[in-house]
Subunit: 408 residues, 2 copies
Amino acid sequence: MATMTMKMPREEKAVSYASRYSLPAEPKDNDTNSNLCSGPVILLSHGDPTGFKPFWRSVGDKCKVTIDSCDFMSYLTDVGTVCWFLEKELEEAIRQLHSTVGNAVTDDRHIVVGTGSTQLYHAALYALTSPGGPEPVNVVSAVPYYSSYPEETNFLCSALYKWAGDAYTFDKEGPYIELVTMPNNPDGQVRGPVVNRNDGKLIHDLAYYWPQYTPITAQADYDIMLFTFSKSMGHAGSRIGWAVVKDKNVAIKMTKYIELNSIGVSRESQHRAAKILGAVSDSSQCIGANFFQYGKSLMAERWTKFREVINRSRLFSLPKYMEEYCQFSGEDSEPHPAFAWLKCNNDIEDLEIFLRRYKIMGRGGSLFGSDPKHVRVSMLGDEETFNLFLERVSSIQDTISNSNGNGI
Amino acid sequence: MATMTMKMPREEKAVSYASRYSLPAEPKDNDTNSNLCSGPVILLSHGDPTGFKPFWRSVGDKCKVTIDSCDFMSYLTDVGTVCWFLEKELEEAIRQLHSTVGNAVTDDRHIVVGTGSTQLYHAALYALTSPGGPEPVNVVSAVPYYSSYPEETNFLCSALYKWAGDAYTFDKEGPYIELVTMPNNPDGQVRGPVVNRNDGKLIHDLAYYWPQYTPITAQADYDIMLFTFSKSMGHAGSRIGWAVVKDKNVAIKMTKYIELNSIGVSRESQHRAAKILGAVSDSSQCIGANFFQYGKSLMAERWTKFREVINRSRLFSLPKYMEEYCQFSGEDSEPHPAFAWLKCNNDIEDLEIFLRRYKIMGRGGSLFGSDPKHVRVSMLGDEETFNLFLERVSSIQDTISNSNGNGI
């Protein structure tokens, strides 16, 4: 089918985030196949974690916060600490949560709060590099890597660091920084660093190392570990991330980045995050176990349903994951990643473009350094959108199966 | 006096913000004059606007906000607008407030929200430059300029832009960006651009263009105007700033910067800022006129007291300001800037170091591109600190006057 491989322009670099949600161009008169669906657009290109909202709605007043007119007026929370804009209550809640879940070591580590873990990624790059080097430090990550890393690394054309692509094929000499996303975004695989040279520094992005997504097999204990309130609890709009940092000087430099970039981090959001993380750690409130149970059930149910649909034909396939023992839940369990790394098995060259014709907006494989036969789709959206997605995938499978008679 | 001109090390580049609050080094045994005061440290090096706190305390429940467990979970507020993470209620409150105060045109302008106006400064630099130029675009501002601009501009060693210092002496060819802070930080003067060439672009920092600091003489109407919740209302901890932007493409690129830097801005803080800005605009609540009256009275009273103390000797001097008609208050009034740009008139070479010996922490003139005989001190702190500052300055004046007999 001509439409399957038709090239559509990607968004301009400067076009806003919202444009990624835009509809495919209206079909031209001589291109009746260019828009193959009359239903609503299904937005799965971003990991907006609204799927967890029903849980938080059910919690009622337990995590409600009230902020008075004169609260949080100062820039400063505690001038005596490394991260001078970090709310003490948030720091305590973070340490307690990691202790409860068992997913990261925080004893004798510094906590740096950021406006989401994205700001902390920039802070870490700044902290791990210095001006005056002969070349920018190469930043690599194993394919498929998080699609925003290349642009986030390069957009300011810094002389401190530059994106150098796939860690598997990296062969340049000199210092480098390797990003290790574990479990990985987009494909959910558990993995470690791949370059493994002495002149490398590591940033571990552990945004998805929580029981609802993957078995907790060990306490992570790396030099710089990034976490986010968005993916752990589902509160993306708060823009709260945190780094767990071994080296004091790195934590100081990360704090300095945030000072120079935004003079701190919203204290209202920190206060609310402290309340919510605190409640999840506090077994007496019965929120913690319930939240992770809810999240895990939700993800497991979605993955089961999605695999059922996918398995009805051979048009698409999904990664397979091994069961492992989860130290948090005390049982063997399979990963249920936040994203599905969907692959098409027929002659569709660009799956993102193909799905856009059916008004399914995913993120194409080439953005992740991978091939365009892959698309990343979010498994975190609201229930209605997810169910509509299943229906539409089913319908695509039926259409393609009928058109070539063999499901491929 | 030897101690007056003694050089002390400035803070290291990578040392955290909090270190600026650190005490002077302990006096050595052979340096009995190095610490000339046994009282507490007086921190006036930052514009932390806690002086407005009593007003907001008096407001009681009127601006209290309550946030439920499931509020603000999505990254997105309105995917149809240029700034897709801007809360609609905040946008409306911003436009209404500027209309009420009469300090800026917002009709047919785009509003971009940021994590403080600092993030918006970075966003504006990104929006006004493009990769691939032969040289980074020069960024200038007239001396004395805001002390953070050089480091904020240069710290990532961007190839897009670089700090080029004083606008008065700028003579390089090619495109440039001029920062116009109006009224100026540190010296409170009202001023316009000084380079005035066709290949220049302007960023107007209007953080202090509010009735408590300066007469509102006209509706500002510039290409990019930066404002901040910190200095307008006193809520620095919320980290909310906004830009009023004429050109849609510039607004889109600024939004893109914030997407790549932090994927949006705290929605809790935006919600609270909307509530507070809205209340100040709403005459029925009697907060608006009262807030600006309170702020203006506070600033006027502090300036009167400070000038009285300064005028008792000739050791220090302060800038003088002209009365102008304020369209907001409907009366002639003098500026009462957020900072005092204090100058020493005797042979003290470095006023910052001199004052540190008396445990007064200001910010030295050289950081503003000016001479070290100046220090910027905040007039925005709490009442107790401000009164202690007046007492200590008096005491210094008495000491110096007694030591050389003529007050100089």
